[in-house]
Amino acid sequence: MRKLILAPIIATALMASTQASAQDTLKIGLIQPLTGSVAYNGTADANGARLAVKERNANGGVLGKQVELIIEDGQCSPANSVNAAEKLIQRDKVVALVGAFCSSATSAVMPVAGKYKTPFLTGVSSEASLTEKGNPYFFRSAETDALLGKAFSRLIVDNLGLKKVAYIGVNDDWGRGSAKAFEQELSSHGVETALIEYFNHGATDFYTLLTKLRGSGADGVFVAAETQDGSTLVKQIKQFGIDMDVFGVGSWATSDFIKITGDAAEGIYAAVPYVSNLPGERNERFVKEYSAAYDHAPGKYAAAGYNSMNIMMDAIDRAGDTDAQAIVDGLHATDYEAPNGRYRFTEKGQGYGFEAALVQIQDGHTEVVATTRIANPEADSGGQ
């Protein structure tokens, strides 16, 4: 199955490096869900990563070699992602790993990366405890649920004026983590909790959940879901005649989400680390290049894939060598200028310093309501 999907990708990668013989490429492995219920988002991430590699190869590659990106389908499942990691490390001999997307999958790949001493960076998985596991090879260039909750709860209370909120999340580490983090932060601002419920990946019928939501007396609902599940859920909220402020995290503020959700998307708020109409010249350049390559504007995950791949390639360049420890040191020294601010890492490998935005969908477009910076978590809370 994987071969079939990857054949064209690998073929392109090989063609790009025809001058250099196989030994001369520098291999980086990327694990993303290319099938399954978050396939859409995983593919966006892979597209961002491909763009980053293409740009870098056009400018001479890394350590004087062309970068060869090998992409495997992890299906957002821990078992498949571990298989993919073993294959990438053992057979393809990649020097570093990026990805796994879903927190549960990333968490399962971490011990594999530790065992083979392979630097491993995730640009997406946001479940807070990942960077608390003490794995020296693991880095995260994404916000955690807790950091996002902290950064946004004030903005949400001020902008939406909610008193009682219901929390709905997809039933995995990320969804549960996000619902919990926002519930905690909003409670500390005096917002009551109406209910906390979860649904499974790929669920299609939310009427039972919505029956409970309608009876809960909430005036706002927080949703942690990706494009596919989120779109179905939001459409059914409107069908069911529920009139509440909807806000959430996940891949919401993208043109695709708006396209498949239609009118039901109007007025929804999303807390996102990236949106294509963020101000700044660096972002304009990225949006232009991405749009030229894929015919649509980049969303949160395209940016995540682009950023994480660039951070990893920068780190290898800085290391001057493909030795794992040197790359890890290179990652620690990261100061990467992304389309959405500057990325740096804490001692534990947690990224910070980049911007995140609260956006609202209006007339089929995302409007930036407010932006906030993801602060260094170890600076104010003593590294929890």
Binding site: M1, L4, I5, L34, T35, G36, S37, A39, Y40, G42, T43, N171, E197, Y198, F199, N200, G202, T204, D205, Y207, T208, L209, T211, K212, G215, T227, Q228, S231, T232, K235, Q239, F240, G241, D256, I260, G262
Partner: protein, 290 residues
């Protein structure tokens, strides 16, 4: 009380969808002894075809459904004549391997052709809410449940009251005797597989108009269809309907009163209990198959 009514209504709606999704699977098993692991993918292809017909070709919903049924029926026929025919009468394992392979092939082909984006099919009715006392439904859902009933009834009539249906039942009871009586069993098998494929595809398109569909939708559908078929009895028509409704209501009540996050557990509990206490399912009288 109002909540309970709403939960039961939700359960019956999704139960009707489960029943329709499972019908093709139970039909193919009952008549052909083929455990079709590609069933969910045929459902997915129905949704994708429906999307192509309504969005790309610009047909209305019913014309699109007719086209989808015709194309998918032909696909089912060809799959039987060119693939399943080769492993017929070799026991169940070769056909299981074959259909698993087919499911992987179909998913990835669809992935190459239409990509991972969710596909929305324009329904024939608006998704406006309908209030029946305290219960909320949408016009489209009421329509879909009615369409499920019509399709199930149509399949039943074909099997009970047509020459083809009689030939199907005769072939199931004793293929050798059926051949001796002059029935072209190869054609009967192909027709059965085509009918099963059309049922799966119609479910895929109908549900694609209510939710949305995508190329990876098949896995979950197969899983639920197997639960329904095991509960109702492999090959039983009535079993698929009752099994579907029971699963739908059980999931809705579990989700409503316990938690929606663990709702998939109920299907597996049902399978385990069925296999322990009534291993042939609720409706498996050997004579009443199909």
């Amino acid at each position: 009380m109002d909540m309970l009514l709403q939960f039961v209504a939700n359960g019956l709606v999704s139960g009707a969808f489960y029943a329709l999704s499972a019908l093709g699977l139970t039909l193919i098993f009952g008549l052909m002894r083929v455990v079709n692991f590609a069933h969910g993918e045929l459902y997915m292809l129905g949704g994708v075809m429906g999307w192509l017909a309504t969005t790309v070709l610009g047909l209305n919903f019913f014309a699109g459904l007719a086209l989808t049924l015709a194309v998918m029926g032909a696909c089912g026929w060809l799959v039987d004549r060119f693939l399943i025919e080769r492993v017929r009468d070799q026991g169940e394992e070769p056909s299981i391997l074959l259909t698993i392979g087919l499911s992987i092939f179909l998913t990835n082909t669809a992935l190459l052709l239409v990509g991972t984006a969710p596909l929305t099919i324009e329904g024939p009715l608006p998704n406006k809410p309908v209030f029946l006392g305290p219960v909320v439904l949408t016009e489209l859902r009421v329509f879909a449940v009615a369409a499920c009933a019509v399709l199930i009834l149509a399949a039943h009539l074909v099997i009970r009251h047509t020459r083809l249906g009689r030939a199907m039942r005769a072939t199931f009871q004793d293929p050798m005797a059926a051949r001796l009586a002059g029935i072209n069993t190869a054609r009967v098998y192909a027709s059965t597989f085509a009918l099963g494929t059309m049922l799966a595809a119609s479910a895929g398109m109908l549900l694609g108009s209510i939710y949305s569909t995508h190329v990876s939708a098949g896995g979950v559908v197969s899983l639920k269809a197997f639960v329904v078929v095991i509960l109702g009895g492999m090959g039983s028509f009535a079993g698929a309907i009752v099994g579907g409704l029971l699963l739908g209501v059980a999931e809705a009540l579990w989700g409503g009163y316990i938690s929606t996050g663990t709702v998939d557990i109920i299907g597996f509990i049902i399978v385990i209990l069925t296999l322990i206490f009534k291993p042939y399912g609720l409706f498996s009288t050997q004579v009443e198959r199909a």
